[in-house]
């Protein structure tokens, strides 16, 4: 019984980080209508950002703001390279343009680093309960995720810029009519989405070792998360992430773990078909 | 005359907003029935209910005595009911003739593809698109797209045609041409239910008029009677220009462009 409880807590902690990873993807989708297939690479870039910065002596958590800013700039660049020209075109175009840039990024990364293993040890005190232990890195990652999600919420709902982003997400044409510079807003949202992915990668890298190809698994998980939380809904993504963490945490004690993936993806397809706005959104007529 | 289409207590709400409330009227065989009313009166919603895009919350729809309530649009089309859209919906990458062939293939006659070509060409010629047959729909002018909407509906060889503001956005010459087309349609025996904001045109074309206001039927009758109905004028007072047009339209039929 206590094992189940421990799994639930662990699921929530790690799930919130999945949620952060998905937040960037869903923000970009909601605002620009682009499914960003460079998402996995952005997460890996955050991981390598942590590795490279800490190896020059920067304390692990001090890399967060650096990666946030760096990710934002990279995101802006990506927007102008592969997204701007396909805005408003059929979904296939943006899927392929971001996919091709992802190929380039992975290709360059393989040439430079190979697919070897990297590990960034982070020493933090952990919390123990009965026989189970919750590492400090997991707890801090969840706390930071909650803080970032909170900031994002405030930014989107309380600031002029955030409101402009939401207006463009709701109706690009109308936003343009009332004088919102949509192109700037689109590129900004893309940059922000990539920055969030980078930060999530950085946090994940404090928890687990990684390779250049780790991004694929997290990108796939992000898809599941945003479907659970509602497409285009950043706050929903956090809850979706926690939901996914709970699925993993709750199923493990009761069944072979190899079935977890089956459950995840069957759930994914069912939710996508039955609740396209996410489990949490009110069902509209 | 027998009722071709009967609406019986039709209602539809969207998230608490009642767009159509208990609406009943009938379209008689062979007539042109005009449907007017201020913006937001529920006219286009009504069209979407009739051809099955929306499912009514309550009420029945009968077409040639057959209950078609809740029938999906593609089956409604097979019964001989075709429509045009207020905002044109051309199949952009396809040519004019191909657009019309879709109408011919999947409309009332359900023609095989090989036979649909001639029907399609005839429909396109009928609306005056004869020198645009191989043009892709995306490259047509707005007037051309309006004609295409009509041609595509015609190619389905409908019994009842729903026209949703086919005159909106056209210049006077184009309007005159389109009115000619509609008149000739009626001569062919096609029954027409049309929404139109251009009062002079609808007053002159229609045999009867139904006025909608906030989803309910406000009045029904001959154009002249409608134009002088105090309740109708009252409803249009929110839009004085329209109200003026309403009166002028019925006053002198020849002034219709």
């Amino acid at each position: 019984m206590s094992g189940l409880f421990a799994s639930i807590i662990d699921g929530v902690l790690v799930g919130s980080v999945y949620g952060l990873a998905a937040m960037g993807l869903t923000l970009i989708w909601g605002v620009t209508d682009v499914v960003n297939l460079t998402h996995g690479s952005a997460i890996v870039a955050g991981m390598f950002g942590l590795y490279l910065l800490t190896s020059t002596g920067v304390p692990p958590y001090a890399t967060l703001p650096l990666i946030l800013v760096g990710g934002f700039l990279v995101g802006l660049l990506l927007y102008w390279i592969c997204v701007h020209r396909v805005i408003g075109r059929p979904p296939l175009m943006s899927l392929l343009s971001t996919f091709s840039v992802n190929l380039v990024l992975i290709g360059l990364g393989t040439a430079v680093w190979g697919t070897a293993l990297f590990n960034v040890p982070v020493a933090l005190p952990s919390v123990s309960w009965q026989r189970y232990t919750f590492p400090g890195t997991h707890i801090l990652a969840a706390v930071l995720t909650a803080a970032i999600a909170g900031c994002l919420y405030v930014f989107l709902h309380r600031t002029r810029l955030g409101k402009a982003i939401r207006a463009v997400a709701n109706n690009r044409g109308a936003a343009e009519l009332v004088g919102i510079p949509t192109t700037q807003v689109l590129s900004l949202a893309f940059g922000l989405g990539v920055a969030l992915a980078g930060v999530s990668g950085m946090l994940i890298a404090t928890l687990f070792p990684f390779t250049l190809l780790s991004g694929d698994a997290y990108q796939l998980k992000s898809f599941v998360v945003i479907v659970l939380g509602g497409l285009g809904n950043p706050t929903g993504a956090l809850l979706g992430g926690i939901a996914l963490g709970l699925v993993e945490g709750l199923s493990t004690p009761f069944m072979p773990v190899s079935w977890t993936l089956v459950i995840e993806f069957v759930l994914f397809v069912i939710v996508l078909i039955a609740y396209p706005n996410g489990l949490l959104a009110p069902r509209r007529a | 005359m027998t009722a071709l289409l009967e609406l019986d207590g039709l209602s539809k709400s969207f998230g608490g907003v009642r767009a159509v409330k208990g609406l009943s009227f009938a379209v008689e065989d062979g007539e042109i029935l005009g449907l007017i009313g201020p913006n937001g009166a529920g006219k286009s919603t009504l069209f979407n209910l009739i051809n099955g895009v929306f499912m009514p919350d309550s009420g029945r729809l009968r077409f040639r005595g057959l209950d078609i309530t809740g029938t999906p649009p593609h089956r409604v089309a097979k019964h001989g009911l075709a429509r045009t859209h207020q905002i044109v919906q051309p199949l952009e990458a396809m040519t004019v003739i191909e657009n019309c062939m879709v109408g011919a293939c999947f409309g009332r006659e359900n023609l095989p593809r090989a036979q649909a070509l001639d029907t399609a060409r005839e429909a396109a010629v009928f609306v005056g698109l004869e020198d645009r047959l191989e043009t892709t729909a995306a490259h047509l002018t707005i007037a051309g797209k309006k004609r295409l909407e009509l041609a595509r509906a015609l190619a389905a060889q409908p019994i009842l045609l729903l026209l949703d503001e086919v005159l909106a956005g056209l210049n006077p010459t184009e309007i005159a041409h389109m009115i000619g087309v509609i008149r000739r349609l009626r001569e062919r025996g096609i029954t027409i239910l049309m929404i139109e904001h251009l009062m002079q045109a609808i007053m002159s074309l229609s045999d009867r008029i139904v006025v909608l206001n906030s989803g309910q039927k406000l009045a029904e009758g001959a154009p002249a009677a409608i134009a002088n109905d105090p309740a109708v004028i009252e409803a249009y007072l929110g839009d004085p220009a329209l109200a003026r047009e309403l009166q002028q339209g019925s006053g002198d039929e020849r002034r219709a462009p």
Partner: protein, 334 residues
């Protein structure tokens, strides 16, 4: 407004009279004969992969190019077909032809069931749904013990004896795959010139308008999805029979279906000859990149840059470019 019947029957005469029918026949003949000249097995292996790519792309094109639905997980048909075929040939010991036919029919049926569910989704939602189906099936098969779970199924190489020994078997498999490719092209062509195809194209342009015009959209989409599963499933059976080995990570590898999409883009969406050009050039390009000492380390980068340039500057693909350059070609090359 009655249609003129006389003109119609002439049109109906036969697809065989049209020049395009013979262009397809020429493509198939070229594939079949080229490696025979000089007994060039290296060319055969390269063309074999091209034929698989063309089969996948051509069938995917029915959903993607005609109906406008981006099926990102189309590889699930190929993988399931492979599994069904290998399984039937293994312990029950079915002959190859029976196994591939049952695999094709079975997967088509399954696609119809999947399709009724996920075809309610549109645009990027549908694309995600197809990825989800592929991943769910892969995860399930990895746990499905009758199919060897994650270890997959190995076929005894002795099975090649039935086709006249290993060397002869490779030729037989090749010709069968070329036939499957040919059937795919004719299927694409037949659908495109049929009423069904007209309906699909209408759906691809504007699904709501198509429904109002009388196109039974749900049925047509499900049929197209199911039809586009049949030949890829057979190709999967042949392909994995050739490997004599199947495991979930190979069978449901998303990169394969992404490659099929890239090929369609390269050749031109919605065209029939597009997947042929795309598949051939893609295979040549990839083959060259992989075997080039200088580029093989950077082949992902080269492939990515090329694809990006095509998407951004040549969205109609090779066929779009050709049609734009010589508009008269439109009548001959579809």
């Amino acid at each position: 407004m009655r249609g003129g019947a006389p003109g119609g029957s002439a049109k109906h005469a036969a697809i065989v009279r049209r020049p395009f029918f013979w262009i397809i026949a020429l493509v198939i003949a070229a594939f079949a004969v080229a490696p025979l000249l000089g007994n060039d097995v290296e060319l055969r292996e390269s063309l074999l992969l091209a034929a698989v790519y063309i089969t996948l792309a051509s069938n995917l094109n029915i959903m993607l190019g005609y109906a406008g639905y981006v099926n990102f997980g189309s590889i699930v048909f190929f993988g399931l077909g492979g599994y069904l075929c290998i399984y039937l040939m293994g312990s029950p010991g079915w002959p190859l032809v029976a196994a591939i036919l049952v695999a094709g029919a079975g997967v088509s049926l399954l696609a119809l069931l999947f399709g009724l569910g996920i075809l309610r989704l549109r645009g990027a939602y549908f694309a995600l749904g197809t990825i989800g189906v592929n991943e769910a099936v892969q995860a399930f098969v990895s746990n499905f013990d009758p199919w060897g779970g994650s270890s997959g199924i190995y076929l005894s190489t002795e099975l090649f004896q039935a086709l006249g020994g290993p060397m002869q078997a490779l030729w037989s498999i090749y010709f069968l795959l070329v036939a499957v490719m040919g059937l795919s092209l004719y299927l694409s062509y037949a659908i495109k010139s049929s009423k069904f195809g007209l309906g699909l194209l209408a759906i691809g342009q504007n699904e709501d308008a198509a429904a109002v015009l009388g196109v039974p959209t749900a049925l047509y989409k499900a049929l197209a999805y199911s039809a586009s599963a049949f030949l890829p499933a057979i190709a999967g059976g042949l392909y994995f029979f050739k490997s004599a080995f199947i495991q979930p990570t190979d069978a449901f590898d998303l990169t394969f279906s992404t490659e099929a999409i890239v090929i369609i883009m390269l050749g031109g969406q919605g065209t029939i000859i597009g997947p042929v050009l795309g598949g051939y050039f893609y295979e040549e390009l990839r083959g060259w990149l992989l075997t080039s000492e200088t580029f093989s380390h950077f082949q992902l980068v080269v492939a990515g840059v090329l694809l990006l340039l095509i998407v951004l500057f040549l969205p109609g693909g090779l066929m779009g470019w050709l049609h734009g350059r010589w508009p008269k070609l439109r009548r001959v090359l579809e």
